[in-house]
Amino acid sequence: MADQRTLSPLDLDTPDKTFLDANELVINMGPQHPATHGVLRVILRLDGEKVLGLECVIGYLHRGVEKIGENRTYAMFNPYVDRMDYVAAVSNGLGYCEAVEKLLAIEAPSRAQHVRVILTELNRIASHQLWLGTHALDIGAITPLFYTFRDREEILKIFEKYCGARLTTHAFRIGGLQYETYNGFEKEVKNFLNFFRPKIDEYEELLTTNRIWLERTKGIGKISAEDCIALGVTGPVLRASGVKWDIRKAQPYANYKNFDFEIPTGQNGDTYDRYIVRMIEMRQAVRIIEQAVDSLPEGPIMAKVPKVMKPPVGEVYHSIEAPKGELGYFIVSDGSTQPYRVRVRPPSFVNLQALDTMCRGQLVADVIAVIGTLDIVLGEVDR
């Protein structure tokens, strides 16, 4: 298996024979399978239990979000993006709002930017918590799921108090925020940070040095930095392979250049490194939120935005670092109230393409671990 990328695609037409004679066996995992995180269907070609290759069949959750975008005004489309990556809805909203702001050439006021950073980073923690719980559940540890959900609840409470929704928040508006922070917002966020810091240690205690966890994750689903770049993989998966690429640092948006934080990277690009990277990212997110809350400026929360948004003819690409990787919006305006085309670059979709590379030569049980470690959300993959 010299160059994995040049391997021929799966030949799914040859029928599978009996168990034994057969050197190859094609099995179908999903779309209804407990470990595929939704309605992902993976067709595996196996030699015994070894994976020779696999193909993802997606689209079971396709809702035509991009097409909907062409038939809604800029402001009306904003809630739809929350439904793509529903576990990180705030990040999706941030990306869209900033993209449209770029198109309109306006800038949200500094206070709004701060609140945006706070909420987005909280959402990053929530997303990583959900990833950790389900990933550990896939590998068989059932307890972390409940710990992470218990703590994620606190974040969702803050969201709910701020904008009335827990999951699909629609927290931001084009040009800033609609709602001023509620009374005691800073205090509650700080309380949460103090509550949450020991909890990360708690998660790590259960898993980081657990022998079985190490055996199940070390060296599993390896992907090299070159492969990552070639496949366009971003986010923690890319960073775990050793590439220090984080849009918050590389092309700072919102207020990120004002905050001091580090980008964790791994060396091996295996499941364990991705786990460690995400754990450190949670800690860094705590750091960012702390700084943002401490330096939360007073002032307006909404920039001057025309009642009817008619961006000038043109196109814009804006990407942010969503919890799962680079989330980009490409918006083409024809000068009307509705975008001519909205194209989303979802991190889950792009990262999912690395599944084949990561799984070849591994065992079936590892495929489940790798799907977990990619941290995909099918709502975002299929849009």
Binding site: I27, H33, P34, A35, E49, A136, L137, D138, I139, G140, A141, I142, T143, L145, F146, Y147, R150, L206, L207, N210, I212, W213, E215, R216, L363, V364, A365, D366, I368
Partner: protein, 425 residues
């Protein structure tokens, strides 16, 4: 009639098991008691596993059916019995039908030789431990049959996995068991035994539980056995046969209702069976803790209060929870139920303080308590560990446990030989 009464009474004076005494009447009574006891144990485990696991995972677990979900197992059983019993169209119906019974048979027959006390076993076979290992290995057949008869991919893979796992861990388990059996021969008489009661008697005679014998050899053998027994019963972290995230439910994917509940019963029965092997071989069976450190009649009488005290403690817990129940009239029946349950426990506890009762019961109490400790371990494992991958599991069985077990056996034999020939004139 008189002869019959005499027949019944004749056993009461003997101090062997009813099977060994050849008393059919008492043997059947014992069979009834033991199998009812095991079934009740399974029911308790069902509730305990949910509750303990829930509390480990910051949840409450069942709370609605009965006070603190105490009636949940019964509700579950009722649900399972009322469920439609589906046999897949292309399944091999005879085998599909009989597989759960075979698994159950294997799990329950084992209890024939489990020694709850010097007289409290259905029978005492002179190949007791061999019988236990042999019969419990028969459950593999039921699992393979279930997986094959379902005529479906996931159950078949699950069955192949679990039977491969059970067969290979049996080997390591066997070595651990043999090293414990070897220790039984270090008596004054110099003959070892395979009888379950004989093994405990040997520990009593040597005034030492085998887990501490030839420290750390006994401990290592015990450790190997405890790991192997978890694998043997297909429980976490070795539950890949029924790994939800990979194979949905393993060999019993296609089963539903009553037949599924039989598998459930067998799984928990087997857990108790292997735990009782471990307790018998290494933890001194029915012997109370610390027989040699805290010996003497004073300590004996102190320890004889333990069974009653345990039940009283449980009763106190119940009463405490009763006091904490919400005062809303809606909860009245539940509160009363919990209070009655607590009163029942207290009554049993007080009954156990009667010397005549406690003398007869405390063997059974200590044995059950030790087995219960193992049951808690099973739940704890499940709450803590991720799942092994199949090749890792096999590697651990064959390349780690087996060599260590073999080494322990050889070392134990060597040490025993040296002790018998050199140190003892």
């Amino acid at each position: 009639m008189n002869a019959f009464v005499q027949y019944i009474e004749s056993y009461l004076t003997s101090n062997v098991t009813p099977g060994a005494a050849g008393n059919m009447f008492w043997a059947s009574i014992y069979i009834l008691i033991v199998f009812t006891g095991v079934s009740v144990g399974v029911i308790c485990m069902n509730w305990l596993e949910r509750k303990v696991l829930a509390h480990m995972q910051v949840r409450l677990g069942p709370m609605r059916v009965g006070p603190h979900g105490l009636l949940q197992p019964f509700a579950d059983a009722l649900k399972l019995l009322l469920k439609e019993d589906i046999i897949p169209a292309r399944a091999d119906s005879v085998i599909f039908w009989s597989a759960p019974f075979i698994v159950d048979l294997a799990a329950f027959t084992v209890f024939v030789v489990v020694p709850f006390g010097p007289q409290h076993a259905i029978t005492d076979m002179n190949i007791g431990i061999l019988f236990m290992l042999g019969v419990s290995s028969l459950s593999v057949l039921g699992i393979v049959m279930a997986g094959w008869a379902s005529n479906s991919h996931y159950p078949l893979i699950g069955a192949l996995r679990s039977s491969a796992q059970m067969v290979s861990y049996e080997v390591a388990m066997g070595f651990a068991v043999v090293s414990a059996i070897l220790m039984t021969s270090l008596n004054a008489t110099g003959t070892g035994t395979l009888s379950m009661i004989g093994i405990v008697e040997a520990q009593k005679a040597q005034a030492e539980w085998f887990i501490f014998k030839f420290f750390p050899l006994g401990l290592i053998a015990f450790f190997i056995f405890t790991v192997a027994m978890v694998a043997e019963t297909n429980r976490a972290p070795f539950d890949l046969a029924e790994a939800e995230s990979e194979l949905t439910a393993g060999f019993h994917t296609e089963y539903s209702g009553f037949r599924w509940s039989l598998f459930f019963l067998a799984e928990y029965g087997a857990m108790m069976a292997v735990s009782s092997i471990a307790v018998t071989l290494w933890l001194g069976g029915w012997l109370r803790p610390f027989p040699n450190w805290l010996s003497g009649s004073t300590w004996d009488s102190i320890f004889s209060y333990f069974p009653g005290a345990t039940f009283l403690f449980l009763a106190t817990l119940c009463f405490y929870e009763t006091a904490r129940m919400p005062k809303h009239p809606y909860f009245r029946i539940q509160t009363i139920g919990l209070a009655v349950f607590g009163a029942l426990l207290a009554l049993i506890g007080l009954l156990l303080f009667v010397p005549a009762v406690s003398v007869r019961i405390q063997d059974i109490f200590w044995f059950t308590a030790k087995v219960a400790g193992f049951m808690y371990l099973y739940i704890w494992y499940r709450g803590t560990f991720p799942r092994y991958r199949f090749d890792q599991l096999m590697r651990m069985g064959w390349k780690v446990l087996l060599p260590i077990g073999l080494g322990t056996l050889i070392l134990t034999a060597g040490v025993a030989l040296i002790q018998q020939n050199l140190w003892r004139p």
